[in-house]
Assembly symmetry: C2
Homo-oligomer: 165 residues x 2
């Protein structure tokens, strides 16, 4: 499946998620690990779209997320900073998700500079992460409530649901 850049931007405006997890990690000097992640989740019947995204970006993995849901995920810092971030800088998102991307990009830059290895830098990253993926749903937990406990969970609700009443 060949995807076009503008289709990818439109689809990610609808279905994509930029998330920064912060997880306890005893081996790290500051006691925490920072885990930036770009994810697109789909019902398994559209898994070919996720493989299309993987081929398009040339990185990431497609895995079962939960039940009938599959996820395309990119977690590697190098892949995020050389593939994902440059793409969305060149092809800007049009939805409010763009603000999440901007914060995500700032966190990726901070990690590249090693700022996540200091208490001050970590506090800055945590403050930025806490501002992401807010206000999209009243049911969503704030990132600060979940990030430390469930680093692999995605606190953002990335989509609209006409059934939500």
């Amino acid at each position: 499946m060949k995807l076009e850049a503008q289709w990818v931007t439109g689809f990610v405006d609808g279905e994509g998620c930029f998330h920064v997890g912060i997880a306890k990690h005893p081996d790290m000097a500051v006691g925490y690990q920072v885990l930036p992640e770009f994810t697109v989740v789909q019902h398994e019947r559209d898994v070919q779209l996720l493989h299309g995204l993987k081929a398009f970006f040339g990185c990431g993995v497609v895995r079962r997320n939960h039940g009938e849901r599959m996820a395309y995920r990119v977690r590697g810092l190098e892949q995020l900073s050389t593939q994902i971030v440059p793409f969305f800088l060149k092809h800007p998102l049009k939805s409010a998700k763009r603000q999440d991307f901007d914060k995500f990009r700032r966190v990726v830059l901070m990690i590249e500079r090693g700022e996540h290895l200091t208490a001050e830098g970590l506090a800055h990253i945590r403050a930025t992460a806490n501002q992401m993926n807010r206000g999209r749903s009243r049911e969503s937990p704030a990132p600060s409530e979940t990030a430390e406990e469930q680093p692999s969970e995605i606190p953002c609700r990335v989509s609209s649901d006409p059934h939500e009443r």
Copy 2:
């Protein structure tokens, strides 16, 4: 906001919904009215995207859907058959939603030919509508359960939700 065709296709692959409602209507000879509808629902903070879609297609309305959710809707038969259907024929959807669109297009054609005014045609349309928007979520009611009672409700769940576990 200027939108590109491929962005629109990608966004609708994620967030769009093609639906055929069948509602009781005593003034119709067959006792029912057929209501095809193209809808995109977003949180109100992205309402400018919905106005962008309205300008892009040159038809439809943007209205509050429920709570903080806004909806872009196209219901008019002429607008559906001259604007919406031709666009997605020229720029095919890449997700499983394409099969819903194909059925939606067939229903629009049947209505244009007046087939919804006969009992046989209505049964054909009902059978087609019942095959739409299936299997996307276990929580979704089957269209047949809602179409007659709530013609303005959208039975399809158009999006993935990472929180759904």
